[in-house]
Symmetry: C2
Amino acid sequence: MTDTSFLGALLSADQVSTTTADRDHHGRDWGTPPEEASPPDVVVWPESTAEVADVLAAATERGIPVTPFAAGTGIEGNAVPTRGGISLDLTRMDAVGEVRPADRQIDVEPGVVGAAVDEAVAAHGLFFPPLPTSGDMATVGGMIATNASGKRTVKYGKVGDWVREIEVVLADGSVLTAGTRAAKSSSGYDLRSLIVGSEGTLGVVTRATLALAGRPEQTRVGRATFSTLADATDAAADVVVSGVDVSAVELVDALSARMVNDYVGSDLPEGPTLFLEFQADHGVDEEVEFCRRVLDAHDPTAVLLGSEAAGTDPWEPRRELADAVRAYYPDRRSLHAGDVAVPLGSFSTLVERIHELSEEYGIPLPTFGHAGDGNVHFDVLVDPTDESAVEDAAAVYEEIVTTGIDLGGTATGEHGIGRGKREFMLAEHGETGVETMRAIKTALDPSGTLNPGKIFP
Amino acid sequence: MTDTSFLGALLSADQVSTTTADRDHHGRDWGTPPEEASPPDVVVWPESTAEVADVLAAATERGIPVTPFAAGTGIEGNAVPTRGGISLDLTRMDAVGEVRPADRQIDVEPGVVGAAVDEAVAAHGLFFPPLPTSGDMATVGGMIATNASGKRTVKYGKVGDWVREIEVVLADGSVLTAGTRAAKSSSGYDLRSLIVGSEGTLGVVTRATLALAGRPEQTRVGRATFSTLADATDAAADVVVSGVDVSAVELVDALSARMVNDYVGSDLPEGPTLFLEFQADHGVDEEVEFCRRVLDAHDPTAVLLGSEAAGTDPWEPRRELADAVRAYYPDRRSLHAGDVAVPLGSFSTLVERIHELSEEYGIPLPTFGHAGDGNVHFDVLVDPTDESAVEDAAAVYEEIVTTGIDLGGTATGEHGIGRGKREFMLAEHGETGVETMRAIKTALDPSGTLNPGKIFP
Ligand SMILES: Cc1cc2nc3c(=O)[nH]c(=O)nc-3n(C[C@H](O)[C@H](O)[C@H](O)COP(=O)(O)OP(=O)(O)OC[C@H]3O[C@@H](n4cnc5c(N)ncnc54)[C@H](O)[C@@H]3O)c2cc1C
Ligand SMILES: Cc1cc2nc3c(=O)[nH]c(=O)nc-3n(C[C@H](O)[C@H](O)[C@H](O)COP(=O)(O)OP(=O)(O)OC[C@H]3O[C@@H](n4cnc5c(N)ncnc54)[C@H](O)[C@@H]3O)c2cc1C
């Protein structure tokens, strides 16, 4: 085990731990099955930028890996150390700083949870639009590091689009301020966007200025169910391409709907369903009716929209989906969590292919996701003790992701590459793409201190 | 003079020129005064990605600088060679490729002019929102390389936000595909955003897939004049912060209004004026009235909005501003073109400071710009033969840009650093920022082939 006693000189005793419990907690994230846990040698909880800088500088000097860790809700093992070393837990750096309503901005430390940003700004009539579904657990630092997104991304964009200025500690302990508080800039290279989505492999975010939007005065929700999956996915793309001002278009396929009904006792129609949300300061009902006309062209079998949906919350069961999927088959587990995104015109093709493969291999593939962004999620559910099923699962997964890339899309719309998707980097980015990324990694972190074993194939 | 005879083996005779006329044309851009012209040794017009790659590989091997050049509408000498070498003119690569309405995307070569993108997609009910004011001259490649923006950026974002996938030739001639056609991605480092705004110093864009928006069904325009500059700038910020769905909020100060009136014989009120535009599929008049209430709180002296503006084009004189400024003082010239952007809450402070400095130094500083983005433009107009005035102009300019940076803003909201703003890089990005950019430049272009003498101080 690495000698990490130098940390005692940099941090106080309650900021360093080598207990098994702490190491285990930092050896897994949400997407890591127990057998793939990989704990760090030591966990540290810095409380300031200076402490982060001290730890990084000292670790780089000694050749010890450092893996940033926050809420651990990542899906791809993003925060799981691959070579022991130090887990740098940012959750104690959770101060909510100044809210500047005149700029529509807020300053926060990286350990602040997404929902806490929303709470802090609500009194000013503002909100933080791109929160992921996990927004009440995931941290600002984790969301920036994965360029997370959420149901409202279809209208408002990704987390990265709402980051203005970030403070970042580099591997050698130097402190970078990237970006600007201005709404736009053409000044030098866009280091902010380079850090966004870099999964803690280029630097540690220690402060962020986030942009905010005005809290819309009107919200409407609804859902529409279709007789075929293609009708649902075509309708989703059509809603967006028609220019409906929609703030969420989420797909839930028939199997996923059934799983939710079984889990929470809801009575969702068990067919391919779109969940919709509309937000505006005025005219939202006009928008809902515009949307209804677009949906109608795809022959929905059940629509609960506008006034019909008043007083109900059609979205409620949708929120239980992740747990419902986990609970449905007691002897199966999701071996691969999908997060493929394609251009909107190819969304139906991709989703259709997922269902074909499910039939072909006899593997349940509950399929859902941020349809308005062309982003599909699915779980490859097999019995992990059945060797041939495990092989089939890998083949199915590879085929789906590769199909997405071939359709002009990406292996991951929002979860990041982590450990789980490194094998697709070459197919997506080509040799020049991967080599260019590697050159940047080497330029910024020549010793390879930060989160080794991630992203690169 | 550099031996560039090797180009004859790579390109046909009509693709290479060393005539004085061609070299001179490529030795200046819109922002370069005659005495700062700096021509290349040779101009080449590649017609394919492969030809760009051949030229770059051969130039890098020989240590010859290559400066990409397109329409030459840059303001900061961005495309002007600083050390001779090759001017790589992209304007012959101007094929408009496939329009994919189902994806709301178009493929284009880099030499396509902005307005041509709009024309190509209009029949599909689509448009390319972030066009700069120079959109009928500037090319896609130039707009990407400077991360250009325009009046509609306040609603729709910058050019970079509408770039999906780009093909980029690196200094060694290898061909990178950066980005994805999907609406979002968390796959590896964001090389697309790194190339956007890099001013041809990291690679040459040879193809781009651009995203498009639905052409709104309703457009309204208008203007509002105020008794004080502070009222106008406060009103501009207030319109945006209040959440008015506005597609342009442009400032023209009293002096600029007078210049336009003199130049085109218009009758704009000669006070600080906001020009406004609203676009939506429906409900646009409701939005105009909402905006009117926000403006009214700042006591406008003249408002031409909604139905009052019907049948007129209040924007028309605004379009002549650039030429009007050039023409107004026969013996003065703009020695420095401003392009500072700050957080919205500081916009009034910055603009007020510009006017104070104008008074203090007795230098006319017509002030205008994309107020809704906190982006101000100004021209420092002095007699270039008056030495002390030239010194004053430099001092005024430095003070304004530094004020913008101190307010949390940026030295350039959209024009780029080029040659003209290198001195501000350290103040804006700090030593770590500049060194990090330099490390990336060295990693991607170790021989320094691409557009040397730009961006870095
Ligand atoms: C039920 C559920 C629903 C989800 N829904 C969504 C969704 O809708 N959209 C979506 O995008 N994701 C979703 N996710 C995935 C996950 O929540 C996101 O990836 C989230 O951004 C991770 O944040 P975290 O704080 O948990 O980070 P962690 O998981 O702890 O870390 C994630 C990555 O960020 C790095 N990191 C963390 N903090 C920092 C820092 N300060 N500086 C540098 N690097 C850092 C880590 O090294 C790691 O690479 C979901 C997850 C779950 C469990
Ligand atoms: C009247 C007027 C109004 C303007 N209004 C605006 C405005 O509203 N907003 C705004 O942002 N700008 C504006 N500009 C500035 C200018 O038009 C923009 O910077 C524009 O993006 C430059 O495009 P171009 O084709 O002329 O590029 P050039 O000036 O030829 O080159 C600009 C930079 O891009 C690089 N480059 C060009 N092509 C490529 C390529 N294919 N690959 C890599 N690098 C390349 C060059 O090396 C150079 O660094 C204005 C200019 C004028 C004259």
